[in-house]
């Protein structure tokens, strides 16, 4: 199954509540997937800082004095830490992080932060204090694992490019061949997970110059299997379902927001939902919004 929620705010006055709204939506979807949960939040895109979210299985040891070692600000949140640096230093810091195999990069970019762990949405949200997070848009996922093991790294969202992330309900059947094709293009995929391949595919398409909508459009041809994807970029939010469209999806739009839920249940507490345009996204049809 898996449960997906997403929220793309048009009304700035709601930004302070992004984390709490997303958490509530995701907790409602808990019974669609008990294995792991994750949330991507976009905030502070224009504050001039580059952010790298890292995770460690031994945070006490690995995050101790990391700020001194890297020479920049490190904010620890449970098993994760957000490293803030200048754009000029980002590559250097990323190389330093890669020297410690315990440290895993969850995401990097101007706005994105990803928090994900094994467990139910409410426990994951609590560990990382997600309800307190403000932001412009965000995506949440609760996983019922099929294609790879139940681990932190197998949890969604997957981020394979700056400020990009993808969550998935379904399973891809051509992820191994696509992984090999991407390797030929110099794109590496870190885990055995099928969803990460889809994320890397979209990253590659966008590196080649496509915008989010064009990358998703190309995905209809090249990605085989069952999927409902929700995708985030620095200023964008996209939804794509495969041509068979078995995996459920509901979109709602008002003047204040665009919201996605695997089920309508996830949307019932959103402001003015009674008057929102609520619809089921069409199969093989790209939906995307940009700020």
């Amino acid at each position: 199954m898996c449960g997906i929620v997403g929220l793309f705010l048009k009304d700035k006055s709601l930004e302070a509540q992004l984390g709490s709204m997303l958490t509530e939506m995701l907790v409602t979807m808990s019974d669609r997937g008990p294995d792991s949960a994750g949330i991507a939040v976009y905030r502070g895109a224009d504050d001039g800082h580059r952010k790298i979210t890292i995770q460690s299985p031994n945070p006490d040891e690995d995050f101790k004095d990391l700020n001194k070692a890297l020479g920049c600000e490190v904010e620890r949140i449970d098993t994760h830490a957000i490293i803030s640096c200048t754009a000029a230093d980002a590559d250097k810091i990323r190389n330093q992080i890669n020297e410690n195999p315990n440290l895993r990069v969850m995401s990097a970019g101007d706005a994105i932060e990803i928090y994900k762990e094994v467990g139910l949405p409410n426990s994951v949200a609590e560990r990382f204090d997600i309800p307190k997070l403000q932001g412009t848009h965000g995506i949440g996922h609760t996983r019922m694992a099929t294609e790879s093991a139940v681990t932190t790294l197998g949890a969604h969202p997957f981020s394979t490019g700056p400020d990009q992330c993808l969550v998935h309900n379904g399973s891809l059947s051509n992820h191994n061949s696509l992984r090999r094709q991407l390797a030929h293009e110099g794109v590496t995929v870190e885990t055995e997970n099928d969803t990460e391949v889809a994320a890397a595919y979209l990253t590659w398409k966008m590196q080649e110059g496509a915008n989010l909508g064009e990358a998703l459009e190309a995905g209809i041809q090249d990605l085989d299997g069952f999927y409902t994807f929700v995708v985030g970029t620095k200023n964008g939010f996209g939804v794509l379902r495969d041509p068979i469209a078995c995996k459920p999806a509901v979109l709602a739009e008002t003047d204040q927001y665009v919201a996605f839920g695997s089920e309508y249940r996830a949307l019932v507490n959103l402001p003015d939902i009674e008057n929102a345009r609520v619809w089921e996204p069409e199969p093989a049809t790209v939906y995307f919004w940009e700020q």
């Binding site: 041509p243 068979i244 469209a245 078995c246 459920p248 509901v250 089920e263 309508y264 249940r265 996830a266 949307l267 019932v268 609520v278 619809w279 089921e280 069409e282 199969p283």
Partner: protein, 226 residues
Amino acid sequence: MEKLDLTELELRSVNETLQAEGDGSNKAFEINNPRGSHAIAVGLDAPITVTVKGSTGYYCGGMNKQATINVTGSVGPGVAENMMSGKVVIEGDASQYAGATAHGGLLVIKGNASSRCGISMKGIDIVVHGNIGHMSAFMAQAGTLVVLGDAGDALGDSLYEAQIFVRGAVKSLGADCVEKEIRPEHIETLSRLLKEADADAKPEEFRRYGSARQLYNFDIDNAGAY
């Protein structure tokens, strides 16, 4: 009118209340605050009337017998799945596989229905005021599907003996589904169903689709393949 509020009562107790009504009952119930919950008003077996005020999740009105169920909002996947008799009316839209495998009764969807509407239907009548999605009436065996709007791809794929009437455009027909002539008995069926479904359309405006019967009949020339 007995009111049942799903913010105060467990879904199971609401369904038990409805299921406890016996054969002779004609009671009316109103269910408030459905908030997209699953399996609302399932397994009913009495000629009662249930009005759901709002939108529901999966399988609303599933396995219904005799009851009339009205939903003022939209419904999730599998509305009236395996209905045996009675009537289910949706004011809004229906998600995928509406009326799947249902043996009888009438399902009316006043908005649009998405993919696989009437999949494997076995005797139910379905009237959709709007459009239906792809793969609708897949392997449909008996009953009637009436669509006032358009139909998506692969309508009636691998169809058995269900009848399909569409007023709008059909994006494509599935394997072994063909257009057929409309005879007086079809006009009669359509008139009756359109009236029961409160649908504003004339029977003459529809086209009929049915099985070419090439796929499911054993052909002696193919005996060697077995």
